[in-house]
Amino acid sequence: MIKKIQIAVTVFLLTALSGCSDPKSHATSVMLLLDTSGTYTQELNKAQSIINYLLGTMNSGDSFAVARIDSGSFSEKDIVAKMTFDDRPSAANTQKRTFQAAINKMVDEVKSSTYTDISGGMLQAIEFLEETGAGNRHILVFSDMKEEIPKGHIRDFPINFKDVTVTALNVTKLRTDNVDPREYMTRIENWRNKVESSGGYWRVLNDLDRVEKILEPVD
């Protein structure tokens, strides 16, 4: 009888333990890439409000980083701030305050870059997201999506966007786009193909009033 009870308890415990393990991480990690080329720096105030919104919505265990897109973005030097928020909500709040201060400082001191290395920034972002090991991975690109790479930099190779949601924010139309809108559409379409062909999800969000949709999964 006792043996039967022992077996039953063991089976129950094993079942319970197997039920507890959750292979998928529920944490969210976000990398926001800020375009600092040319006149786009004037748009950074909008980016600041988005960062503040994200800081308000992210929870303990989530990771958040903000990096610049400049002439050569595949570099740690371009990361303005990055944090994985503490398990305790009170400590996480303190981290968020520090993060906000770092962003404010960057916005005040930012200088325009000559080129726009979006692909380099994307590579940097994927590396960061990979390191966090989060289940939900987002790259937010605050840019006009017009890439201008310095001579000698190689970026024409496929990037692995598997399970990463890339959201292009505030994709402003350039003067040339106004002349020929197909240029704008082609630019967006190229990025979509690049992301989706390697298993990622693509989305464009120009209306910043619908900022709450930023971290929603793509349909």
């Binding site: 039920g19 507890c20 393990s21 959750d22 529920h26 944490a27 503040n52 919104y53 800081l55 308000g56 929870n59 303990s60 265990g61 989530d62 398990d87 305790r88 909500p89 009170s90 996480a92 709040n93 968020k96 305050r97 906000q100």
Partner: protein, 498 residues
């Protein structure tokens, strides 16, 4: 081979003609196979109907079994409940008797003393003083006697009158004094009367209370007897009572569940400060699980406390414990509950702090500078109080839970009986439907082959007619006629034949 090829097999290129040939073949085949086909259809529908009826019969007997079992459980529960009720009523009567009527001898003594005193006083006051003699008429008569001018007689008469007047006044004074004494004695009896009346009133109240209790006990005994006799009325009353209890306690439990949710919300956020906000157990956050565990643990402690207090009887093991052990258990549960309530109250305070910090951060992120609200302490105190009281409030879940569990057995049994009855009915109907479908198929079969059937019928009629004609001709022939006459005579006169 395609369908159209098969169709045109008899006359290629003429689908219509081929179809007619096919139709004729089918009709003739069906006509030839009519009898075995009819037999097969009838057998098949009969088998289905019988199988369905047997299944329905089995389900009906299962339903009957379940109904009997339900009835048994219901009556047993009713008996137990009534026994408990009667026991409690007797306990109350015993309490009244022990508390109030145990002092009956002293009460009787007191009453006797008071009655004796009243009796003595009454006896003393009953000695009525003699009425004063009627001196007035005598004095009046004396005063009317004339002295005839004799001063001696006049003086004597005057003295007699004075003496009589004096005596009269003396006697009246004595009478008045005596009456006064009597009245004062009667006056002293008043408090005794009042006391007596008061004592008797209290006795009456107690007796009336006992009488009321006895009426309740009578009603319960009657109910008990009806349950023992297993009457339909008792069963109906108990079923109705169980249904009412089920829905009422279900509603209360639903409200209690909302209370659990409120309690959970109160401590979930601060729990993330203790166990971390990012770790998870399955799909749930560890902090949420910890908060739920805390709330459920408080409920369990509350259940144990109610059991130890013998308010509920969900766990027979606890009720059957030694009284001392049970009391110890009660105290342990109560102290733990108080500790948990304290923890919850402090968590509620921490929640308020965290909420304030979060609010400040949100405002800072939004670039708004807002001063802290003046009466924030009210929310803090409210949350802390709620955190302390909710565990004790949730403890009361035990009462509706017990009723729900008890009533659920009856209600589930009734639902089970209803479902089985509905199933048996549906299966029986399916059986009847199968039988009807069999009849319809037979009729449709005959409808398809109605032409050969008509021809067959016409042939049969013709054959019958010719057979009848042949018979008629045979009967009408002379040889047969004479034979018939002989037979007739033999029937009328049997001796001729002998």
């Amino acid at each position: 081979m395609t369908f159209s090829e098969i169709m045109e097999i008899w006359w290629p290129g003429h689908a219509g003609a081929s179809a007619i040939i096919w139709l004729m073949i089918i009709i003739i085949t069906m006509w030839l196979a009519r009898t075995p086909a009819h037999r097969a259809i009838k057998s098949f529908s009969f088998i289905i109907r019988n199988a369905m009826r047997m299944t329905a019969h089995s389900i009906t007997s299962l339903e009957k079994h379940l109904e009997d079992r339900n009835r048994e459980v219901l009556l047993n529960n009713g008996l137990e409940e009534t026994e408990r009720y009667i026991e409690r009523e007797f306990q109350r009567v015993e309490d009244v008797v022990t508390r109030d009527l145990s002092g009956y001898p002293s009460l009787q003594r007191e009453l006797k003393d008071q009655i004796t005193k009243i009796d003595n006083d009454y006896r003393e006051s009953s000695e009525v003083p003699p009425m004063p003699q009627n001196y007035i008429e005598a004095i009046d008569s004396v005063s009317k006697i004339k002295g005839n001018g004799d001063p001696m007689v006049t003086r004597i008469l005057g003295e007699i009158q004075t003496t009589m007047k004096h005596n009269s006044e003396k006697e009246v004074a004595e009478y008045r004094r005596s009456s006064k004494e009597r009245h004062s004695l009667l006056k002293t009896m008043m408090p005794y009367w009042r006391n007596l009346s008061k004592t008797l009133s209290s006795v009456e109240k107690k007796i009336v209370g006992l009488e009321d209790r006895s009426k309740v006990i009578d009603a319960q005994i009657e109910k008990y007897e009806q349950i023992m006799a297993k009457t339909n009325l008792a069963e109906r009353v108990l079923s109705s009572s169980a249904m009412t209890q089920f829905f009422t306690s279900g509603l209360v439990l639903l409200i209690a569940l909302l209370g659990v949710y409120v309690n959970f919300q109160l401590i979930a956020l601060p729990m993330s400060e203790m166990v971390g906000g990012s770790s998870r157990l399955g799909p749930m956050r560890a902090s949420d699980v910890a908060a739920l565990v805390l709330v459920f643990f408080e409920i369990v402690l509350g259940l144990f406390l109610m059991e130890a207090l013998q308010i509920t009887k969900l766990f027979p093991v606890i009720s059957s414990l030694d009284d001392k052990l049970r009391k110890n258990m009660m105290w342990v549960a109560f102290i733990l509950l108080v500790i948990f309530a304290g923890i919850e109250s402090s968590l509620a305070y921490m929640r308020d702090l965290l909420a304030a910090d979060r609010e400040a951060l949100t405002q800072s992120l939004a670039g708004v500078i807002v001063e802290a609200p003046e009466f924030r302490w009210i929310t803090t105190v409210g949350q802390m109080t709620m955190g302390f009281i909710l565990p004790f409030a949730l403890m009361l879940i035990a009462i509706p839970l017990e009723s729900f569990v008890h009533a659920m057995r009856t209600v589930l049994g009734m639902v089970g009986v209803f479902l089985l009855r509905a199933l048996a009915f549906a299966i029986r109907q399916l059986g009847s439907l199968a039988s009807s479908i069999g009849h319809i198929i037979l009729n449709v079969y005959d409808l398809i082959i109605f032409i050969p059937l008509k021809i067959e019928s016409a042939f049969k009629v013709k054959n019958t007619e010719s057979a009848l004609e042949e018979k008629k001709e045979t009967i009408e022939s002379p040889a047969v006629k004479s034979q018939a006459v002989v037979n007739q005579d033999e029937q009328h006169n049997p001796s001729v034949s002998q």
